[in-house]
Symmetry: C2
Subunit: 404 residues, 2 copies
């Protein structure tokens, strides 16, 4: 029996992506945070496009747009999110949703054996709660204090949900129906471009630890206080920062990443000895045990640094566990890529995605396409049309192979 060929329509794919980018358009990017007018309008439009494609579409009260393939008892779930960060790029999230739409539509048109359900999760970017929609979909959302959560401008999620007009029944993961989850996304980093690859297969989404290290000393006149009598929180923090960088360099695995992105020295005057100094250290890896070893090392360093006149403390401010993707599913994508003449690059995702949440519920895979200059979360974010089309063709071929 010859393989069914799911032949997507590149022009229609690009037209839909460009159309979605008109909602909240901001220069070459979009400004479409969850539950903004632009986000709501975009979701209404998506629901319409899903219906036109022949899907049974609805928007649930969390804002998830969900289109079911009619007449199927088992389906692949393909999607991502259509909300954006403020002043974000046009492809982040949108790409994976429109790939899903285009592949589901093609399957229905071409009466493929493959059944595809499509989803656009709400608030992946965390205006209110990161991964709100996918958490609701997977039944892992803590519903209790939902309505009280507010965005940085003070608007509550309860208010936002009511004002949206979204009132559909919750879209839910169905264990007997959804055999796997596939998400395509722009890389948001430089590795594909740097290695001249066009398709990435995500081996997993890294875990994250984020800690704040704070030194507390005493403000003194930096001219009149002898060095031996100071309680210099700034100098202690700088010394510690170096030991942190040394430790990470020596303990890291090949793909571990770390960053000291926030440094605050108070009161912040050239002639005043710093009374307080803090930094936020963030580190990511696929190996949870390595993350714990790094965290333990930080605790040791903090204990050593805090022995003098300056006290030190460590506060954990974020913790996300690594989410490995399904190896077999990834292999199918890599094989599909090879079919299109491209050797895929296996890589970890250093950023979070809806797949991170749903992969704890169903086997999941992610496909990356290159980001020009590695840019994202910025209106400058872009990918060549050829790469966008290739990514969708590879994903369609993977769907073909996975069809029941």
């Amino acid at each position: 029996m010859p393989e069914t060929v799911i032949e997507i329509n590149p022009q229609r794919l690009l037209t839909d992506l460009r159309q979605l980018a008109t909602f909240g358009k901001l220069g070459t990017g979009v400004d479409r945070p969850a539950f903004s007018q632009a986000d709501i309008a975009a979701r209404r439009w998506l629901e319409g496009r899903m219906r036109e494609a022949g899907l049974q579409a609805a928007i649930d009260r969390c804002g998830n747009v969900y289109g079911r393939s009619p007449g199927a008892s088992k389906a692949l779930l393909i999607g991502s999110h259509s909300d954006s960060v403020p002043k974000g790029g046009w492809l982040d999230g949108a790409l994976g949703v429109i790939y899903g739409l285009e592949i589901a539509r093609t399957c229905l048109e071409q009466k493929s054996l493959a059944a595809v359900d499509v989803v656009s999760f709400e608030d992946e970017e965390g205006r209110y709660i990161p991964f709100l929609g996918v958490k609701s979909f997977c039944g892992v959302l803590d519903e209790k204090s939902l309505a009280a959560i507010r965005d940085s401008g003070g608007r509550s999620l309860g208010e936002a949900m009511s004002a949206s007009g979204f009132d559909g029944a919750p879209a839910c993961f169905e264990p007997s129906r959804h055999v796997a989850y596939l998400e395509a996304h722009i890389e948001q980093g430089p590795r594909l471009e740097a290695t001249r690859r066009r398709i990435g297969v995500v081996s997993g989404i890294v875990g994250i630890r984020r800690v704040r290290l704070t030194a507390r000393g005493q403000a003194d006149h930096a001219g009149t206080t002898p060095m031996s009598m100071r309680k210099d929180a700034g100098a202690v923090l700088m010394r510690l920062a170096n030991r942190v960088l040394d430790s990470f360099e020596s303990m890291a695995a090949a793909d571990t990443v770390w960053n000291i992105g926030v440094v605050d020295v108070q009161p912040g005057a050239a002639n005043v000895v710093p009374a307080q100094a803090s930094m936020v250290v963030e580190f990511r890896d696929m190996d949870a045990a390595l993350l714990e070893r790094l965290l333990a090392r930080l605790l040791e360093l903090v204990a050593q640094a805090g022995r003098g006149a300056v006290s030190m403390e460590l506060e954990e401010i974020a913790r996300i566990e690594p989410a490995p993707m399904d190896r077999a599913l990834g292999g199918v994508i890599a094989e599909a890529s090879r079919q299109h003449g491209e050797e895929a690059l296996y890589m970890q995702s250093g950023a979070g995605h809806d797949a991170m949440i749903i992969s704890r519920t169903v086997r999941s895979a992610m496909l990356f396409i290159p980001s020009i200059g590695g840019r994202s979360h910025d209106i400058a974010e872009d990918t060549s049309e050829a790469d966008i089309v290739l990514g969708c063709r590879v994903l369609a071929s993977a769907v073909e192979k996975l069809a029941p």
Copy 2:
């Protein structure tokens, strides 16, 4: 011939100090920046007290309050400043001025051989120009662009001078009259208290170098950008800060002080690789050659640090040369202190004073009394009444010894 005894009036001294502290009173301190209503009123009051003491007093257009001892052809000049930093202490500057007033008054009352002129210089604290008044007095003020200088609130010095109503002829240093300058001041540091000494003799006022070191790299996603592809301005700056601290520790003399009081990391997000990071390094010492060696070392370190993907630059933002005090004059104060049963501590001043400017024109000496807890530039600044009185007695005894 028996020594003349200048016996000051402790109660009058304290009353005048407390009275001066009512102008701009703020809790236990004062808020009396140059040319504020409180500063202007305090200077008018001072002028009146000088006249009541029998001095020929006037306020010049720069705000200097100057009281001349009548009938003398040679005089010692004693003073300091009566402006304060915002939310400052009650003794900083005021002490030296009221010591001058009390000693001059006593000399006149007791028909001492000693003739004392008294001065309160304007804007030592630099609301408009640090050392405005003493620079005018010494004829080293650059008059050209004076009026255009503005305070941090945007008020011009020209406006402030006009609004003050001060219109006296410039008070000037007189080479044939002023045989020496004496300034008493609170220590503004912890050394006297720590060594249980009550009188300090200032060997000199340290020179200052202040530089800003800036690293420029590139902002990138801290999750998706491999370590090897980053241009991390923050990490380069931290590494450099450590080398700076190492270098200063190994190159410093016993009394050298240094400080990294300002650190700025941009854009300042936990998950963004720092694009720019800067710090201000300040260092002080009596030895100008040492300051230059330290500066040269910083330039070397910056050149080394800037070799990679991150560029580094050094900008000198302040430079003040060391000002040694007169050794013989200091000896007279130390001897006077011994007469009062106190062994003086020879020490450098880590902070600037009017004496720093005028010492380049006439031989000068400074006497320090303890600051409780080393505090100053804060309303918590204080000194015991016993120490205040002792300081004035020691200075009066020194005046006695210096009388022509």
